[in-house]
């Protein structure tokens, strides 16, 4: 394009120069701008701008009903000495690590089971996904009832089986409450992990397993040396999503315990809501939310490396 020799006499005004309107309509970059405009507008106004606004608000003492002034790191210093904040960080990490580990283990196991040939395969696969379809809050409400201190069906069954002699206070005791919300989160997250890993499993050629079996590989060796390496890229992506959404979880906790008992299940997101919206200290709430960003950035960095290693999947990795 730019290599045309300038010494040649340029034919002056060969065609009439396209009007501005024509250029806006046909130039590829301009057309693309129009096409990108609606999506970009939404994402800039309601995502990028609030993201920066949130970081800014964490440096102010803004409250509901009045604008704040810049107070530097005061919110963070305040949080640094706040044992409840550190408890929420601990809870969030515990919740994320335990729930994600179980989601991965059970999800992978379920995916391997669903990958077997069996009757009603399609129907079973679609049933598995139902917990993922139903809104989290509504299934959390069902768990709330299952975990009820007086009428819990789990306590009732265990008493009838003679394993315990009094009701378990699922959501009233700190350890039980943590375990209960983690279980509900695992329950909700397993279908997503299982179905996405299943999609990855289906791309693995059966002839690899046949060849390995002829060579005398055990089923564990087939899993370890065929399934797992081929599945690694999709595992990386799925688990990053899973970790990200578990780390920032809000609705399950809010529906089940609202952070109680004695803050034992407060996650950073619920604490941020409690301080920011309910108590009205927007600046402090924003500081808690901003404190989540480094963790998320770490998770996204891991995701990025996972994406780099997925070239086997699509082929068109750089268009």
């Amino acid at each position: 394009m730019s290599t045309v020799q300038t010494s040649m006499p340029v034919p002056a005004a060969r065609v009439d120069t396209p009007s501005l309107w024509m250029r806006l309509k046909t130039n590829r970059n301009w057309v693309a701008l129009w096409f990108m405009l609606p999506a970009a507008a939404f994402l800039i106004v309601f995502l990028a701008y609030p993201l920066f606004l949130g970081v800014w608000m964490s440096f102010t003492d803004e409250r509901i009903g009045r604008t704040g002034v810049f107070v530097g790191l005061e919110n963070y210093q305040w949080l640094w000495d706040d044992s409840i904040f550190w408890l929420s960080v601990f809870n969030t990490l515990l919740y994320t690590i335990v729930a994600s580990a179980f989601k991965f283990a059970i999800g992978l196991y379920l995916a391997l089971l669903l990958n077997e040939h069996m009757p009603f395969k399609a129907m079973i696969r679609s049933i598995v996904l139902i917990p993922f379809i139903v809104p989290t809050v509504l299934s959390a409400i069902a768990f709330w009832w299952i975990y009820d201190s007086q009428f819990s069906i789990i306590s009732w069954s265990l008493i009838k089986l003679g394993l315990i002699d009094h009701n378990i206070n699922f959501l009233g005791d700190t350890s039980w409450a943590r375990g209960s919300v983690i279980f509900a989160n695992i329950w909700r997250g397993v279908p997503f992990v299982a179905i996405t890993l299943l999609a990855g499993l289906q791309t693995v050629s059966p002839s690899l397993y046949e060849a390995a079996t002829l060579d005398g590989a055990t089923s564990w060796q087939r899993f370890r040396f065929i399934t797992y390496p081929l599945l690694t890229p999709i595992i990386a992506v799925v688990m990053t999503f899973s970790v990200l959404f578990t780390f920032t979880d809000f609705q399950l906790i809010w529906a089940l315990t609202r952070g109680g008992p004695v803050n034992a299940t407060h996650l950073m997101a619920t604490l941020s809501y409690q301080r920011g919206i309910i108590s009205g200290r927007l600046g402090e709430g924003a500081a808690i939310a901003t404190a989540m960003i480094p963790f998320l950035a770490a998770a996204i960095a891991i995701s990025w490396f996972g994406m780099q290693r997925r070239k086997w999947q699509q082929g068109s990795n750089n268009d």
């Binding site: 999506a39 949130g54 059970i106 089971l113 917990p131 809501y273 998320l296």
Partner: protein, 302 residues
């Protein structure tokens, strides 16, 4: 449901085994222990909360709290009292309508914006298209939990507080990144030649998009639409933060806030509310299972 599925599996398993790869190496008893039993247990655990939800919503109150006289796993005289109370004595229909209105509005806006963006990124190949694609992927990773406080003040500044319109405008930030990536995958599979023919025939980019690309990408559009709809229905923290007055609430927020009083008999109507709120999505899911799965896996793979 699963109870009736399992017994019928066993006899047919042997027949289908003959033609299925290496599975003939495994005997039926072995498959029972290593495959069907664990699968059965997992399915029971996954489905039990829904069974319990449905059962509770049709149980009379006295059976709910007397677990000694009545077997809690079954219902003796089912009643529709809770459901009718829910529909006629509370504002539940109004909340359902709000949820539907917000979900349809936000989904439609998002699909419109995503189709244009995905087409521009995949096919117009403008300067920086790759960068824009990556940025949109990052937008997918920004969770609502770190945005709701600043967004609340943005919404307040625009005078949209306590209005469902605020949700219609905010939800696209969750839906556009996802739908754009999904649709980019679909658009990539459509051959360039079709577009080139149309360009030679004098079609504009808009005509190409509407008359050639979109009809070929209908499965992708359905996937994006129903998945976005489900995400809207599921969203909680924005709705909880932005909506204050009772009649404006969406179903998830209203269930958590409006039913929770000290009443020991709340459980029937609470479960009925959860059940009725889940049904539209489950029905939609039943019709479009394949699209859901491809939406979920497509967005992750891309």
């Amino acid at each position: 449901m699963t109870d009736s599925v399992l017994p019928s599996k066993v006899p047919t398993a042997a027949q289908s085994d003959d033609s299925e790869g290496m599975s003939y190496l495994e005997s039926l008893p072995r498959r029972l222990v290593t495959l069907y039993l664990p699968l059965f247990v997992i399915l029971i655990v996954l489905l039990f909360p829904f069974y319990w939800m449905a059962l509770t919503s049709i149980k009379p109150d006295e059976q709910l709290i007397d677990m000694d006289k009545f077997n809690p796993f079954w219902v003796v005289h089912p009643t529709f009292k809770h459901i009718s109370k829910l529909l006629f004595e509370t504002q539940y229909p109004r909340w359902l309508w709000n949820t539907m209105y917000v979900a349809v509005g936000a989904t439609t806006l998002s699909i419109f914006a995503s189709v244009l963006a995905a087409y521009a990124i995949v096919r117009l190949r403008f300067k920086g298209a790759d960068t824009v694609g990556v940025l949109i992927f990052f937008a997918y990773l920004v969770p609502p939990s770190i945005l709701f406080i600043p967004l609340a003040s943005v919404i307040q500044a625009y005078g949209l507080f306590d209005s469902p319109l605020s949700l219609i405008l905010v939800y696209p930030t969750l839906l556009i990144p996802f739908s754009t990536w999904l649709l980019m995958g679909y658009f990539k599979t459509i051959p360039y030649e079709l577009e080139e023919c149309a360009l030679i025939d004098g079609a504009s980019r808009w005509q190409i998009l509407v008359k050639i690309i979109l009809p070929l990408a209908i499965p992708g559009l359905i996937s994006a639409f129903i998945f976005s709809f489900t995400l809207c229905w599921n969203e909680f923290i924005y709705a909880l933060t932005f909506l204050q007055s009772t009649p404006n609430k969406t179903v998830p927020v209203a269930i958590v806030n409006e039913f929770v009083d000290g009443d020991i008999y709340k459980w029937g109507s609470l479960m009925a509310g959860a059940l009725v709120g889940s049904l539209p999505l489950v029905i939609l899911y039943a019709f479009f299972v394949e699209h859901y799965v491809s939406a979920m896996t497509g967005a992750v793979k891309e």
